[in-house]
Symmetry: D2
Subunit: 435 residues, 4 copies
């Protein structure tokens, strides 16, 4: 069911290596499937500096295997074009000067066909390597593959985010896929709360757990958490509409100073992708422009909006330690990409003795915690050390995955992060408060 999580590199033998090859093939195929509905023109658009053209994504994830596995370890690897190392390096400054990010949409050659040829070239070389690996490097190869696969999964989610942003620029509101699974029609009901006592809790990935985790999750450590309550589900579109109708975007009272400045500078009046048509709020989704579902979790809000809503509601956002402490007792299921909605949906009715609903999937949940290193944090050696650590400034932690995340990509300890103004991710939030 969830082979990437289950794979470890404790036992290194040929059977095991074959499983890694199959995992590689499965992840690569998932990327291809995401791009299948695209026209070549869609592959080219960079709708803002933070968005990358889909063509760049599919080249970059291939480059990752080339730069960190094939070139160092494949005994006879031949690169297809030496310029690709420059064009498709994302941000590894210690690997060489990356091509400027805001100009990724300027590069029409290599074409989409060229990039798929590059992709096939990498796949063939990876298969060669994993079918006949140099034994003295096999452990390091698998270590890097263990990073390369979730890396590509992250770009799968980024592809959904960026495709959505790209198509949303178009006044024609094009449909990405017309065959997505419809949302269930649940009534979510009143917000409930779960209470937790004060105490020392452990969070972070355990060094004795052989399964993969990013460096930023490493260092299981103790945190003292004062008694708190957490909401039974995320805030819904309907609740957020009430905030909007109460003047939420018009009054500075609820907002962080930077948030209020952003509201005014950007003219925010609603979450990203929302638009009013004939008095009814719609939002752009990967199925096109549809009316907002008041029972579904609000999505595409920034940390600033989440925090302002919480202020208005007399609550706050949970810290990441609180969130993880709660999530440790909740089964890792939810509305992930495999559900085929590509949109958050209303929580199923009825609470749970296990804990709050929708902790996993649907929307990434903004926490009140700035993204900073755990005690004893050590970044990976070499250029891969740039993977996570250098972003530990100016960003907030989000937890739990979303409707565009592969289910086997997520862990209870998983730390996502975005700047507080970002709204492109499928990001929502859940309230917390003191007991």
């Amino acid at each position: 069911m969830s082979p990437i999580q289950d794979l470890t590199i404790e036992t290194i033998d040929s059977i095991h290596t074959k499983e890694w090859l199959r995992a590689y093939q499965r992840v690569r195929a998932a990327t291809d499937a995401i791009c299948e509905p695209l026209h070549k023109e869609d592959y080219m658009v960079q709708s803002m500096p933070d968005v990358s053209p889909p063509k760049w994504h599919i080249a970059h994830v291939s480059w990752f295997f080339e730069a960190f596995i094939l070139k160092p370890f494949h005994p006879s690897y031949q690169t297809l074009d030496p310029a690709y190392d420059y064009l498709f390096n994302s941000y590894y400054e210690t690997h060489g000067t990356p091509f400027p990010r805001p100009e990724r949409g300027m590069i029409s050659r290599p074409t989409v066909d060229d990039v798929y040829r590059y992709r096939a070239h990498i796949n063939q070389a990876m298969e060669e390597l994993l079918n006949d690996p140099p034994q003295e490097h096999l452990q390091e190869i698998l270590h890097r593959l263990e990073l390369g696969l979730p890396h590509e999964q992250q770009h799968q989610e980024l592809l959904f985010m960026d495709i959505k942003h790209i198509l949303a620029q178009n006044p024609l509101c094009p449909v990405y896929r017309g065959d997505l699974v419809s949302a269930p029609a649940h009534e979510v009901g009143e917000l409930g709360w779960h209470a937790y006592p004060a105490g020392v809790r452990q969070i972070g990935h355990d060094a004795n757990d052989s399964r993969f985790a990013y460096d930023n999750e490493m260092g299981r450590h103790r945190q003292f958490i004062e008694a708190f309550q957490i909401a039974d589900r995320p805030v819904t579109n309907g609740e957020f509409l009430t905030f909007m109708q109460a003047g939420g975007y018009d009054k500075p009272d609820y907002w962080l100073s930077d948030g209020w400045a952003t509201v005014k500078a950007e003219g925010w009046k609603a979450p990203l992708y929302w638009v009013e048509r004939d008095g009814v709020w719609h939002h752009y989704t990967l199925s096109g422009l549809v009316p907002v579902d008041v029972n579904a979790p609000v999505c595409h809000v920034s940390f600033y909006e989440a925090d302002a809503y919480a202020q208005w509601a007399g609550a706050r956002l949970p810290t990441e330690a609180e969130w993880e402490a709660v999530a440790q007792h909740v089964p890792l299921h939810g509305n992930f990409v495999e559900q085929g909605h590509l949109q958050p949906v209303a929580a199923a009715p009825g609470g749970s003795s296990e804990g709050p609903r929708q902790m996993f999937g649907d929307v990434w949940e903004w926490t009140g915690s700035a993204y900073r290193p755990y005690p004893g944090f050590r970044k990976l050696p070499g250029s891969l050390g740039e993977y996570n650590g250098k972003f530990m400034s100016g960003q907030m932690v989000l937890r739990g995955g979303c409707c565009a995340t592969p289910e086997d990509h997520i862990r209870t300890t998983y730390r996502n992060f975005f700047p507080p103004h970002a709204r492109c991710a499928f990001s929502g939030f859940r309230l917390a408060k003191e007991s």
Copy 2:
């Protein structure tokens, strides 16, 4: 040979209308030919706000016929998609809010195939209309066609400019066409001068001349021109290199104040597309990156650079009246798009009793004249009045056409214009001085 110039609308009959239809077909086919070497990905790039994606150009020139001819005059015209009127209006503010220019590269749908379908749709409707025109509107239809054809020719030149700029962003220096005609290997020799006496001269398009001219050329009028001399040919790459080696880009002495500020802000060290490789100056051309030909006219320089060179050389740029007075006696031949160089080339040796060499073709020549209305200027009625008149501020006049201009697009009275910092056009210059 040059049917667009020869066509007039004095006689309106069915034979004549057929000639217009053939001219329409010929101009449209020329646009298609320019785009033939492009990949779909090339069609999508907007390398800076002033550049439009080729896809937009080929849609916009079609829209022009739709908006100004088909919708008003075709009795049964059906639009393909009502959104196109918004997407492909360039700058006609009185026609409706145009789609924001800097975002033209954000729109992946309609695709390139869609846009060619739109193009075919317009062609078919235009043929229907011209094969069976409503007689009461025929004169107005031909008047607008008489504007629509040079309009598309202007976009043909813009396509060459924009394709060059787009491909030049790519560190791979892609070749647009590998089969362009090579430049002749002439030695241009020392610069010679032609002298003209003082006197009242007439410039501008004569109202009695039934051939087409833009509104901005209209109003033949008198100007008193003091005695002057004009150079026998444009300034060459070799001469411009001497200026560079003399510190031309390093000393404020020669520069207009705005020009010097631009040099510093943009870090200009050479003309656009020039790059030094192993001590040799190369420049990017539509044939790829090649060494600079010291005998060819310098190209892709701004008015500021032209003016600074002239200051350094103890000369000045000619006014547009001087230029036109000289050009009236020079045959309209030159290195136009039909020559197949798509690059300025060295002047043929030997001067001429007729006047200076290379007045037409090769490079647009910056004049010292700001682009302002002629006496009695009247803009066209309706939205077409925005065609030229509203740009008569902050721009300088260029004359004579270039290696990317169709020969039958140019007249002695033709006024091109660009802001003084612009370098994307195939723009060079010729010196003048007092007698």
Copy 3:
């Protein structure tokens, strides 16, 4: 009455040199008088990059005499502080790197008192020099003085402009001087026109005229002017209000493209300094905030606004050649700084056989001519060559002086210039049209 204009350097003797000294003292005293109502705090403000703090102005005009006369020619001149040469150089790049213009307001030391000490130091040295000049340099000294005095007069007008802009930032609307002369209460009546036939006219400063003129006026030359008419007086506030009420600022039809972009970017709804209070248009003047006088010429409008009004009115702006040809027959009188209004006032009733009213004084009149060199233009040698020539790009010519100009500073041939978006000068306009 008008000694600066009457002074020449044809005869160089000690009596004559004494007159120059008296002229120097008179001009310098006028600068002091302008600053007399200022607080030290007013001297410090740089309300936008194009505005200089008054402290800077009064230091800079002193620096001009130091750099170009005292240091080269005073046999024993001692500078007060060597840093001043850097701090108070305006834009003479060939003299050394000028202190960055936008940071002039950052420099609190030297203090205002220090700068007045510098001023006194320069005055004393200039008096020493002119009382006992080195005969071999006297001609050059007087030549430079002949430039230095109008230079300081230009800064006197700039001081009025900048003081107005500085105080206008203040929501308290401070009064610069409470004792300015009130405007007369004339009714200007309907607009009349004066017609002129076509012909060759001479404009520019005659080389045989020994009186001073700037280099940019030099080169009396012939221009052919087609028949035209010019308005009897400038456009009034009342007429401009009609344009505003007709939606002048809301419709793109009348505007140059750059002008319309500026209107939208800046949110222009009225001339600079205008503000609506309880339904009545007021404007900030050096006497404070007062209701707009419908009979006075409209002021603080840009070229864009002048041109848009003319388009709306079915007219155009005169060229500078037309303006000068008309002005040659009009006596050089008007509402200059000596009248004590510091604000344009309504034209006196009744036309004139001599020509249009208010050609001189009241408001600088935007012409339709870009600021470009006259035939045979030669800039001054050395750093003084930067005085005028390097600004001959991107600017439009204004003529006739204004209510803040010293009367003896103006000539019929005088060419002022500003960018088309500028509104800080006392700038208005007069209509012209074809005959």
Copy 4:
């Protein structure tokens, strides 16, 4: 010795209220003393948007008492000018629209003398009020005074920071005060470490402690701190020079991504105010430009620079919980404003059994903690709620006070905060590492 800290509002009687009045007078006099060396011109400069002109500071701190104490509680208070409420409101959006911060330097009136009159007016009214307070409001008055006094002390430190930044713009490097106390000539020696075991610690201001603390310190709560070590003293200029010489500013390896982008965008090569003269590093201080003291703590570095240094040194910054846990055992003494250095100085030799040296005073120490609310954080009611809470985004915590902080302003629990790129404060840092 430290009356502001010792004053509480537990006992409210007339003797006690008199003490408050004396504290008020003492704080206000300290502000006056800071400005005593300034010229009026110095009071006017806003050297960047984050810097306020000193005139604005001295008006704003007076406005604070007027807006929050005199207007609500003085029975007969008359405002001096109603416009001041708009001009001198800093950022209290719920109090009314504040005058735009970046334009504070545009306002020359009220003059410095006017503002001192305003200051005297407020002082007189405050004395009246405290000499004869309305008993029913006395507790609230004292509560607000208890906030108003440290508020003015914060602006005292801001005045030093802003005066330094203002004078540093001036190429003349003016001296603020020539009589500052010279630094001792200590050799600080090798860096030592203090180790602390893991455990639950309490931090934050205790609700039972009647002494004043800001809302952001409130909520004494438990934190689990893993075992760690902390440096015996801050990093010195000499150590930082070693980092610079090792290419610290040239290699991306050590930097956070945002930090590296800032280094490149701003061209950072050294701490703020450092300049190399003839191969020797100097820095601008309030005593003028002096050579850097290698034994003194490095100062005017951003969080990015502190973090990069720590990465390079194989260490990290302490969290604020670690810092506070250590500081709880260190006497609150140090190089504060009362020492008269106005510059950090070398640590006295010899360590201490009590704990690390220089925890208080000298430099604010960047911690590795983002500035976020403590558990149960409640902002103050009304507009005063904007005092601290709305800045809890995008900023890092600094601890311990500096050489420009009044000693009785600081507490062990005191949380200062600045954005990670800020360098204007007297900010340095101390290393920590795992045990």
